[in-house]
């Protein structure tokens, strides 16, 4: 019999209490993990951003376009390796409910060179470049609508009115888990040519430029130079790193994220209370046993080992169970979100770092919950513990 065995036996002394405590911790850890996953998914675009990419947009707002003529001027700025551009399309596929996915009119010649994380088979890229109304879609988007290469789809333009027909010529996959696989790309020229016929005053503009810099360390200087170049023009620019650009979007949801973070902390507080209550009851019930152990010659370190060990055992059992539950919980969350999931969270996975944080939280809670009972057991005098004064 080792003290480890005594820890196990003590933890199972009140099976119902221990099981309920473990389940409480597991559910709380799972909820914490799910919230962390949601927050992580919100920031997945930041993770996927490249340090050598800048975004140049209209200084007034993203809703205002930039002339296509800026492209060559930007390309000529020292430190710029390549330039591409895109326009937000905002079309409706089937109905509004089914249209929550990003659609971009892009430059087919350069777009996939600037986004090497979009893996597109070479023959599909060639086919995409050769056909004016060709489109390339992400794997998740293709799976969502059961699209295959060669399928023709119709969209109704909301920002750019009219009916638009596209032929799927490629399906890209992401290089990493955080890569967005829900995007829809088609030829900017297809959009621009139609605009020249229907709304010529809107033609010749792009939504933003994507600028690849030669050296990420020069990104700030290049960005300043781009904005300086178009200072006092009709369309002044605002250039920032891709990461800052995405964070700008996320900041619009900052209140929700702060609320989620607070809730996750409250959950940890609840677990701490649950386990602290269990351990406090345990220590109170066993004060006489601790006194007996002290009488036998066991010292403070042995009591610390027994109480902290039991608290950690319960917390870790709950933590491991909670981490395991997080996967089906995340899957259930995805199912509950339905079609909207891909639009809101392009990448939604329980990250290893989330598991690690959940595990550390369980350990932290186990240690914290054992502090008071351990202190009490160590401090109590043997004669008081035995409750016998002759």
């Amino acid at each position: 019999m080792e003290l480890f065995r005594l820890i196990f036996k003590n933890a199972l002394r009140h099976p119902l209490r221990s099981v309920l405590t473990v389940l409480g911790i597991a559910i709380a850890i799972s909820a914490f993990g799910l919230i962390r996953t949601v927050i992580g998914a919100w920031y997945s675009g930041v993770e996927a951003s490249a340090p050598n990419r800048l975004i140049t947009r209209n200084a007034v707002s993203l809703g205002f376009p930039l002339p296509i003529s800026y492209r060559e001027a930007i390309r000529g700025i020292p430190g710029v390796a390549d330039v591409s551009y895109a326009n937000w399309f905002g079309g409706i596929y089937i109905d509004e409910k089914h249209s929550q996915f990003p659609q971009f009119a892009v430059d087919p010649a350069t777009w996939f060179e600037l986004y090497p994380e979009f893996h597109l088979p070479p023959e599909q890229e060639t086919a995409f470049k050769q056909q004016r109304n060709a489109a390339v879609v992400g794997r998740k988007l293709a799976e969502r609508f059961n699209w295959k290469v060669g399928d023709t789809i119709q969209m109704r333009g909301m920002i750019f009115p009219g009916n638009w027909e596209f032929v799927i010529r490629g399906i890209y996959t992401g290089a990493q888990k955080s890569t967005d696989e829900t995007q829809f790309h088609f030829h900017y020229q297809y959009l621009d040519e139609k605009l020249r016929q229907t709304e010529p005053w809107r033609a010749g503009n792009v939504g933003w430029y994507v600028v690849k810099v030669q050296d990420p360390k020069q990104a700030a200087e290049v960005a300043d130079e781009i904005d300086r170049r178009f200072k006092n023009s009709l369309a002044e620019t605002l250039t920032e790193t891709e990461k800052a650009f995405i964070l700008g979007f996320i900041s619009m949801s900052e209140t929700i994220l702060v609320a989620l973070r607070i809730i996750s902390m409250v959950i940890i507080g609840v677990i701490l209370l649950v386990l602290s209550n269990t351990m406090a009851m345990t220590a109170r019930e066993r004060l006489s046993e601790y006194a007996v152990l002290k009488t036998l010659g066991f010292g403070a370190r042995h009591l610390v080992f027994l109480i902290v060990g039991e608290s950690l055992l319960i917390a870790l059992a709950g933590g491991v169970l909670g981490i395991l539950i997080t996967y089906p919980a995340a899957h259930g969350f995805e199912r509950a979100m339905g079609d909207a999931m891909g639009a809101i969270f392009p990448a939604f996975d329980v990250a290893p770092v989330t598991q690690l944080i959940c595990g550390l939280m369980a350990v932290g809670v186990g240690l914290a919950a054992s502090l008071f009972p351990t202190w009490r057991a160590v401090q109590v005098r043997i004669v008081d513990g035995l409750r016998r004064v002759g």
Binding site: N10, R13, V292, L293, T295, L296, A300, R388
Partner: protein, 224 residues
């Protein structure tokens, strides 16, 4: 003449309730030679359990010198005192105080966890101790599966398994029926006679005290 195993010189013990001093033992001096079987008797509140606790090193005197097995206990820190107890004292409680989640064998093995013995040796020592108290066939029983007398015998096995110098028992028959009480006193008598264990018991029971070689009466914190 050999040094006494227990020596108390003007030992006093008081408890404090706020600023109020409650004296429990007053200027107790006594010696107990090795191999003695001594019974401490007295009414409730006379200080006999307190005296036993002081000798066991689980409480400290307010004044006076207390020397047990050649060690002056007042000079030891808490951790030194704990180590000293594990080597020197075997303690038997009135209510047995066995750990309910451990079997008889595991309860007896418990004090040996503080020794460098291997698991196999610990098991063997514990089995021998249980055999000595007549419970060789109850090694895998949990306390709740044993009678009161059997539980106390397990507690005695736990007290003797480390081969301590001194056995201290606080009302060892106080919670037992007459037959079981006699069995326990027989066992303690045997440990004293055959194994030369020095035994000091606190008891209310005159029949238990009769089994001791010497009886000391305490009243209001002093020898009567």
């Amino acid at each position: 003449m050999a040094d006494p195993l227990i020596e108390l010189v003007d030992v006093s013990k008081s408890y404090y309730r706020d600023s109020l001093e409650i004296p429990v033992l007053q200027n107790i001096s006594m010696t107990v030679p090795e191999g003695e079987f001594l019974a401490l008797m007295g009414p409730s509140g006379s200080g006999k359990t307190t005296l036993l606790n002081l000798i066991a090193g689980i409480d400290r005197p307010t004044r006076g010198i207390l020397r047990v097995a050649g060690t002056e206990l007042g000079r030891l820190s808490e951790s030194e005192l704990a180590r000293w107890r594990s080597r020197t004292i075997g303690f038997i409680f009135q209510f047995y105080n066995l750990l309910p989640v451990l079997t008889a064998l595991e309860n007896v093995e418990l004090p040996l966890l503080l020794t460098p013995l291997s698991k196999k040796d610990r098991r063997e020592h514990a089995a021998v101790a249980l055999e000595l108290v007549g419970l060789a066939d109850r090694v895998d029983h949990y306390p709740k599966q044993l009678s009161g007398g059997q539980e106390q015998r397990v507690a005695i096995a736990r007290a003797i398994v480390t081969d301590p110098t001194l056995l201290l028992a606080d009302e060892p028959t106080g919670d037992l029926d007459r037959t079981s009480a006699e069995e326990i006193m027989n066992l303690l008598g045997r440990l004293n006679a055959e194994f030369r264990k020095t035994i000091l018991i606190v008891t209310h029971d005159p029949r238990a005290a009769e089994r001791a070689r010497k009886v000391i009466h305490l009243d209001k914190g002093a020898f009567a």
